[in-house]
Subunit: 207 residues, 4 copies
């Protein structure tokens, strides 16, 4: 049945188009921000007609949401492979944290402008987007809290309100990443910054 073949080919081509528009949208959003971006800018960047944009996305917030979600997924995908082995003492715990954060930072470095843009713009796009940003944040807090609970249970860290501390750690991390990316942490290497921050926290949690 050739029509099935044809249909499949069309589906693939359509999906490729959608990705192209999505990529273009991400680039333009990074360059101009959400509110200064016109549908025609995205279409032009993707080298398709404006009508084609509407075949793949119902409106501007929708394509922003798609950009955001794709980024969020890639972020978690980066974590999936990481949490392999649990540390056995405080020292190992600290070194693994440094390594993990370094890895995360390296991965983000490629998309830092995208990440910055999403952090900046998402809360003003839509209440829905605002919610998603907060949920993403929560997800990281939950992740951190899991590690922290383990550390407390194993006696690597002093007992504390782990939910609160996890939130603090994530908040600190996001804030510092932000300021690092916008160049407001001058005269320090990324590695130095990471070590200093991890030390601050580990020291702060030591028994």
């Amino acid at each position: 049945m050739p029509s099935d073949l044809r249909r499949e080919r069309d589906r693939i081509r359509s999906e490729r188009r959608r990705q192209a528009v999505l990529d273009a949208a991400a680039r333009v959003f990074v360059r101009q921000g959400f509110h200064r971006t016109l549908i025609s800018d995205i279409a032009a960047e993707a080298k398709v007609g404006q009508g084609t944009f509407y075949r793949h996305f119902p409106d501007k917030p929708a394509v922003f949401r798609a950009v955001f979600d794709r980024f969020a997924e890639s972020l978690f995908a980066g974590f999936a492979g990481m949490s392999a082995r649990l540390p056995r003492d405080a020292r190992e715990y600290r070194d693994m944290s440094v390594a993990a954060i370094r890895e995360l930072a390296k991965g983000l470095e490629r998309n830092r402008e995208l990440a910055l843009m999403l952090l900046r713009e998402a809360p003003t796009v839509d209440p829905a987007l605002q919610e998603r940003v907060d949920s993403l944040h929560d997800a990281f807090v939950d992740l951190a809290r899991g590690y922290l609970d383990h550390a407390v249970a194993e006696g690597f860290a002093r007992p504390c309100d782990t939910r609160l501390v996890a939130a603090a750690i994530v908040g600190l991390g996001v804030a510092m990443a932000h300021r690092w990316w916008i160049g407001r942490i001058p005269g320090a290497s990324l590695d130095h910054m990471i070590e200093e921050l991890v030390d601050l926290v580990f020291h702060g949690l030591s028994r």
Copy 2:
């Protein structure tokens, strides 16, 4: 030629009007965000004609900037009276920090929605606004760093990269305030949160 008296009375009345428009703008921005706010919304909220808006502000970004600046000034004004006495030991240092932060938090509580809005919207209004947010942040980092340097000099705190740590503390503070305000730190009192965070940092900086 109008009398000086008349001119002065007009100036005062005009300033009152300007404040009324500014207040109205702040309320509408909080309610709807910058981008969903129309000039006509602001004028209606202030109960003046649209033309009156333009007598006092050249455009929407300008009134936003004015709202932002007024808030930033009130923020610093709140600090002016605080930094009276320097602490003489780590314990006093810790207690004073808790007290100061509590005070700050209480002051912000009244304007929390405004603060949230500014934090959220400012970076998408204007490159100039983005810069101002970052500078405000920097100002707090400098402030924190001053205290920190003193603490290290006096031996209350271990030596460290005070610039980095100050940035971390401010970042952590802003992030937690943010999450507290949006209700993502459930089941904890403000006082508990402040103490827990101050302890984390003080512990992290103890010798």
Copy 3:
């Protein structure tokens, strides 16, 4: 009775004000044209408040009309003294024409920018103004025709459709004045131009 005195003084002062606004309006119209001129421009130029403008003129077209009428009157006033003696031969006729036109030109030279502006702008202000420009033109045609009829009657000029020829002479005159003022008649003295044109016409009307 002091109130009569007072009333008279007020009337004089009001009239002075009116003239000041009128002068200011003329200057601004010359500088910017009718359509680019705001009431506030006129008030500022006259150094009075906007409200004062409306005490003396109901709106913008009205003040333009007043500027126009004042100019038209001064134009005719200039002629009043001129038409003293009628010429007795063609030669005298020609010399008197040159002298009269020279006089007229000299008088206009002081107001040439005003004249140009009125010529340019009046037809687009108002149908009423358009009509007034045409009537002014007609008045000059009638004047010219009177002279012409006399010249034909006396045998200085060949018989012709004097209405048509008078219109042609005035049209030619206005057109040349216009082009002279805007600098499109380069490399000729005013006197040379006048003589050349008068000669053309007198030659054209000679028997």
Copy 4:
């Protein structure tokens, strides 16, 4: 990627639309003048949306300029075929002039309202338009001067400042056309007027 055929068809359709908007603009300008005409008037007259106007012209002065330029071109196009043969004596010269002017007048008769409007409004639209009107005038003066120089060289006309006289002739012609069109030359046929004027000038230039 659209086919060449499609692109060509679109181009033609777009050009047709542009002409429709241009025609509509000319009609509305004639009816209401430049300054009383709204973009929405033009769009309504052309039976298109306001947005469509902006697809073809950036603003109101631009469409006026286009109307003006199209008229100016058609004016010159009318002349192209005319200046075929040069006259061999004064009589022929006179008759050819009458014929040419009659032809020109007939051609203009169809567009007399447009011509009047352009003459009236152009100088108040834009400094650029003012310049264009003057240049158009100059072009006619140059044309007339060419004929005049030839006439003098051949001895049909007496020596004179041909530039000045050419300017005078064109000025006279434009002024009379204007007054003819607005009905201020009552009781004379067009032909009579033309002959009378040509005679005046020819007589004026005869040896």
